[in-house]
Symmetry: C2
Subunit: 352 residues, 2 copies
């Protein structure tokens, strides 16, 4: 049993408790009105609220109206099942991204773990600053420093070795603010949205600036999204047969950056259809949202707005991570739904 | 209604006729033996023969045994549905590739069609030879000539324009030997195999050296394989917004060649799981078959051997197109099934 199967069970447990709460509420109501449908409460719950962690706001209603109208036969907005493509950014949209992208925290932790094998890192930047914990000095190294950190922690190993290393990190590392495992820093309302879309014939894809191999370690278990529906940034790779065994080795060279204008290009390359539904949270998702919204017929664009400094983080226009400016300014023009995390979501993370 | 929906209907018709033939055979048999199951012949047909265009050979039995053992709960070879990934080469595996890759014929036809707009092509190679019909002179230009032909016919236009152009070509162009539309030069036994695998929870993917955008024009309608399960070679692309409309333009620069060692790398990038089943026909598929076969647990490798000079083409070790040498030599070592088109297949193309 992996840490993840434990985690999946915990999510199930959480959901059961949630459904139980709603059931109790309904039962109390039932006592007073002796409805003839009292035998099928469970079905009523499922049918009436596919998004239990969302408050009864206009955002929630917009989602339900869209899914209903695009999946009801005979509706003028009906979308055939083959075209029901929904794309989701990951960092800041499906899981948190503060105080730093989690993949970057993985790189930092990897460098610390491997430091004893690389004595030169003690004197060589950006590793020296990483090891002394001076992340502001690391950041001063700019893109070059980041790239060097990513390359030592992501390349020069087989895809299997990389997957094992990330998996082991996910099972032990914890978030500095909440103390949760990073794989529990996912947004419960978004998990419900993914499930709701899939239950209505939508295929859900991740289209992330994060690394494709990194994402795939947890996407299937945590989000129910199989690896072939995960798109991300990538480095080059090579194929060899060593002692009769085929291996794929990750090379220290950028293959594709799946951010900004890269997102529609990656969608075209990996999916080959324009999405009907897109969700993001930063200006890195702007082109993806624009590409989605400008298609013919019904389209849904969603921006997750980080407004909850207490339960999560509050940031937008001035944040170096997840900067959101153009998206906020132009949302009305595209009719994008802005999700206000503070008021739209009852719960942020599972188990909260 | 597109030409393809007409085509799909024709395939349906063809299948109905095929099932009818089998039914008539069974009925004649029934008359003589008055079996008690005579009320459920249709079900018997479906259950007993998922591959009606395959002769009753050991190859067919190997396929059925593999699918049965990997999908039967409790079987030691059981493969969970999430891992049932099947990959297929396209040229020479799902459709014909002689006398020349069909995509190259498309490029030739495109150059002829557009020639009036490019007077310089009359004197400039390789276009001059293409226009005069001297394909052996074109071939002498080697890779550079081929690349130039592909770039003028595949780049410098939007993805939508390219799709429309290929679609229109597929509806009018015909194969020089058979007179069939190219989209009818597909192998009926392989269509049945694709359907049989999908009916048993397998996800079917194309992993082709051919162009990804070219393949996607017909893969969904002809093979039932959606665009996000089509992997192929690609050229680079850029995203722009022109007069408020997002467009993706194909650029004259190679992005990825999905052939030989490129195939396992593309499988890792697009699918992210090692396949359980792989089918190819040339040494360009060797690495994909090797990568598949060397995984843990049950694996199926299939090589389509072109042995039927009468109904299709006969070629292997010495063919410049679809050369198959290493695959034939090492098939026993990997336990790959060699499909002998002449003896294993009752029918080659639909409608034959």
């Amino acid at each position: 049993m992996t840490g993840f199967s434990f985690f999946s069970k915990e999510i199930m447990k959480f959901r059961s408790i949630l459904i139980l709460k709603v059931l109790v509420g309904l039962l109390l109501f039932e006592v007073g009105c002796t409805s003839p449908q009292s035998n099928s409460i469970a079905e009523v719950v499922v049918a009436s609220d596919p998004l239990p962690s969302w408050n009864e706001s206009s955002t929630k209603q917009q989602i339900i109206d869209f899914v209903t109208s695009t999946t009801t036969t005979g509706s003028p907005d009906f979308v055939p099942e083959a075209d029901r493509i929904a794309v989701f950014d990951n960092d800041g949209t499906l899981w948190a991204e503060q105080p730093m992208y989690f993949q970057l925290i993985y790189a930092v932790d990897f460098i610390k773990k491997e430091a004893s094998k690389h004595p030169d890192w003690q004197t060589q930047e950006p590793f020296k600053s990483v090891l002394s914990g001076d992340l502001s000095a690391v950041m001063k190294g700019g893109e070059k420093a980041l790239l060097e950190m990513l390359m030592v922690s992501h390349a020069g190993m087989t895809t299997e070795e990389f997957g094992k290393s990330v998996n082991s990190w996910l099972q032990t590392a914890t978030h500095p603010k909440t103390g949760k495992a990073y794989s529990q820093m996912i947004y419960q309302p978004m998990l419900e949205l993914l499930e709701y879309l899939r239950a209505n014939g939508y295929k859900t894809f991740i289209v992330s600036g994060g690394g494709i191999d990194f994402l795939r370690v947890f996407a299937e278990k945590v989000y129910g999204i199989p690896p072939y529906q995960v798109i991300g940034s990538s480095i080059k790779a090579k194929y060899d047969v060593v002692e009769g065994q085929p291996i794929i080795t990750k090379l220290p060279e950028i293959n594709f950056i799946d951010d900004k204008e890269g997102k529609p290009i990656a969608i075209h390359l990996h999916i080959g259809k324009r999405p009907v539904f897109a969700a993001g949270n930063s200006d890195g998702d702007y082109a993806m949202l624009e590409y989605t919204s400008k298609g013919d017929g019904p389209r849904f664009g969603m921006i997750i707005h980080h407004t909850d400094s207490l339960r999560e983080y509050a940031y937008d226009r001035d944040s170096p991570i997840g900067r959101l400016e153009k998206g906020l300014d132009n949302a009305p023009m595209f009719n994008w739904s802005i999700v206000d995390m503070k008021t739209d979501w009852k719960v942020i993370f599972p188990f909260d």
